[in-house]
């Protein structure tokens, strides 16, 4: 019985799940960054990442090498994120949370429309950052690209951790998120900390787009829409205020979706995502703060 079971297929589906999750992970980290700084989920995060991907494409199209375009795009995205925060979010900083959510929804349409307007809606591709040559280990295939995506996500989380923990700016940013009034009293420019958060998130989103486009083999203006859902779910599973949780959460979600789709027949393709989401909700009911999230105790 054990021998008849296709272990290779199982291992392959797990590996693919980890690889897919690794692709979504950077977008999940971006969502976490916004949530930590502004307290909302930025529904436009995926579209902003998509916009960055198009910028990268234009740069490569004009002759830059992939890595030059990569870093330039991250820088441009950072500036763009700061600009978006200053122009669009700042006016509603003190408004109810739902108002800010609606603004991010407005951004969703606006950024998508802008990308469609500036670059025509045809299918394009971005060069691979890493090699896609198959590597076979005991019948299970993967590639450097898969490892590279996961590696970049973890490296980004590591860099953020160092930034928030060991730099003055990072400390100020954390303080502003946790207790704005007290931070202001201590001289922290709270408003600019928000802008910093958005800039970092946008930069992270740019990384996400530039990894996702080659991983999904082609891209157009709809690139990030399915990814946003996975990133959101994975981030919540991992704990919405933990970047490492976001990476782990999305990778677990990737494995879960693949295993459900492969081994639970009646689920089929249509329901594999809803079933995975149901599992996440189950986890949340038991552990509301997510796997790595901080459990906050409310004192009455």
């Amino acid at each position: 019985m054990l021998l008849a079971f296709d272990w290779t297929q199982l291992a392959q589906q797990i590996v693919i799940g980890l690889a897919s999750g690794g692709v979504w992970a950077t977008l999940a980290v971006a969502l976490v960054l916004i949530y930590r700084s502004t307290g909302v989920v930025n529904f436009a995060q995926g579209e902003m990442a998509m916009f960055s991907t198009f910028i990268a494409w234009s740069l490569v199209h004009h002759g830059l090498s992939y890595w030059a375009a990569f870093f330039l795009t991250v820088a441009i995205s950072f500036v763009g994120g700061v600009a978006v925060e200053r122009v669009v979010i700042r006016p509603v900083e003190s408004a109810p949370v739902l108002t800010v959510v609606i603004v991010t929804l407005g951004l969703f349409f606006l950024v998508n429309g802008a990308a469609r307007w500036i670059w025509t809606p045809e299918v394009r591709s971005l060069p691979n950052a890493f090699s896609t040559r198959p590597i076979d280990v005991a019948g299970v295939a993967f590639s450097i690209q898969d490892l590279g995506n996961i590696g970049v996500s973890l490296a980004a989380v590591g860099l953020l951790w160092v930034f928030f923990r060991f730099t003055k700016l990072g400390l100020a940013s954390r303080a502003a998120a946790v207790n704005p009034e007290a931070s202001r009293l201590l001289g922290v420019r709270v408003s600019w900390m928000l802008a910093l958060g958005w800039g970092l998130a946008a930069g992270m989103g740019g990384v996400s787009g530039m990894l996702t486009a080659p991983a999904l083999a082609s891209f157009d203006q709809n690139l990030m829409q399915p990814v946003l859902l996975y990133a959101f779910a994975g981030a919540v599973l991992g704990g919405i205020d933990s970047p490492l949780g976001a990476v782990v959460g999305t990778m677990l979600l990737g494995v879960l979706v693949n295993l459900v789709g492969t081994y639970v027949d009646w689920v089929g393709t249509e329901l594999r995502l809803p079933v995975a989401l149901a599992v996440i909700l189950g986890v949340l009911l038991v552990r509301p703060a997510g796997l790595f999230g901080r459990v906050s105790v409310r004192r009455v």
Binding site: Y35, V41, V88, P91, V92, A95, P96, L98, T99, V101, I102, V103, L105, G106, L107, F108, F109, L110, V111, N112, G113, A114, A115, R116, W117, I118, T120, P121, Q221, L229, F232, A233, V236, I240, G268, E270, L271, L273, P274, L277, A278, I280, L281, L284, L285, P288, R298, V300
Partner: protein, 337 residues
């Protein structure tokens, strides 16, 4: 005493104006345009429901499109499979969606804020897939087509509808039907909000801890709010199915849930008068954007920009604006001279 009487007179006057507008609006626009107005009415009803849940009880829901789907498909299934008359399915559609709303409310008890958002978001995203899966009932990816499968059950199939001896075009009929239900729904919501139930809802919204300490059964009232808003969404979905004469998974995507939420917030959370404006906003803005330019991406860009600008200028939505405008009027009425 006098102030109260004056206040009541003001409200009666506004109500009267509304009724007159309702009765005569179709005469001011083309026949086909009545259908557009009817469509706005569908949003109006769904928005009222969401406002009761989110604006007054503080429970966020990104899944109202899914509840509309329940209502719409109930209507379509009853007409196509059981040959019910289309309009008589509306109460049942509302009930079905209300039940589903209630069921959603139960796990929502343990989740709040962000997690409730994810849960309802997941439902909205999953709904088209669920609809496709149970294709025996829902027609799968093809959906259900009332006109094709049960034409005799579609009101106004011949182009005219006769009620109590008075004859009107199908478009006018849809308008009158939808907005009649809308106005009744508005009245009911107004009574709820004004009454003790509304006070409990607001208490839950403002501080769950305080409400619980005051002895309010949080679980009961939260699920009640979900169920109520579900009924409204279901009725809205049913009317949508009747107007368009089809239901299809592609109609009830996450985008619909977003539209309802945008309409509610633009209309003004926790305020009923702005709801009409919210409904018109989501009904007419996409069309206006397309009219400006149909180059790829421009309508979406304009639409998104409009939403952002409205939210920046009116963070509390149209309702907030109306309240600010009405304040001088009401303060003068309620303050001693």
């Amino acid at each position: 005493m006098r102030q109260r009487a004056l206040g009541s007179v003001l409200w009666l006057f506004i109500a009267g104006l509304a009724l007159v507008a309702y009765a005569f609006a179709p005469r001011l626009v083309s026949d086909f345009h009545s259908r557009d107005l009817a469509h706005a009415g569908v949003f109006f009803i769904a928005i009222i429901g969401l406002n009761l849940l989110t604006g007054y009880t503080g429970q966020i829901s990104l899944g109202h499109g899914a509840l509309m789907a329940i209502g719409g498909y109930t209507t379509a299934a009853l007409v196509v499979h059981e040959h019910w008359r289309d309009v008589w399915t509306i109460p049942l559609a509302g009930l079905a969606a209300g039940i589903v709303g209630f069921l959603i409310g139960i796990p929502a008890l343990r989740l709040s804020g962000l997690y409730l958002a994810l849960a309802t978001f997941a439902l909205a995203v999953a709904m088209p897939s669920l609809l496709k899966k149970f294709s025996g009932l829902t027609g799968g990816g093809q959906g259900l087509r009332l006109l094709e499968s049960a034409p005799e059950q579609v009101t106004g199939i011949s182009g005219t509808v006769t009620i109590l001896g008075h004859s009107m075009t199908q478009n006018h009929f849809l308008y009158y039907l939808t907005w009649a239900i809308g106005l009744v729904g508005f009245l009911i919501a107004w009574l709820i909000v004004r009454g003790p139930l509304g006070r409990v809802f607001r208490a839950v919204r403002d501080s769950e801890i305080a409400a619980a300490s005051a002895g309010i059964n949080l679980a009961g009232y939260k699920t009640l709010a979900f169920a109520l808003s579900g009924v409204y969404a279901g009725v809205a979905g049913a009317l949508l199915a009747i107007q368009d004469e089809i239901v299809n998974p592609l109609t009830f995507t996450f985008l619909l849930s977003i539209l309802i939420l945008v309409g509610t917030v633009v209309g003004g959370l926790g305020s009923l008068p702005g709801m009409v404006l919210g409904a018109f906003f989501v009904q007419y803005l996409p069309d206006l954007s397309t009219r400006l330019s149909s180059a790829p991406g421009v309508p979406d860009f304009v639409y998104g920009a409009a939403i952002i600008v409205v939210m920046i200028l009116l963070p509390s939505g149209a309702g907030g604006l109306l309240r600010r405008l009405a304040r001088p009027l009401t303060t003068r009425l309620y303050t001693r001279p």
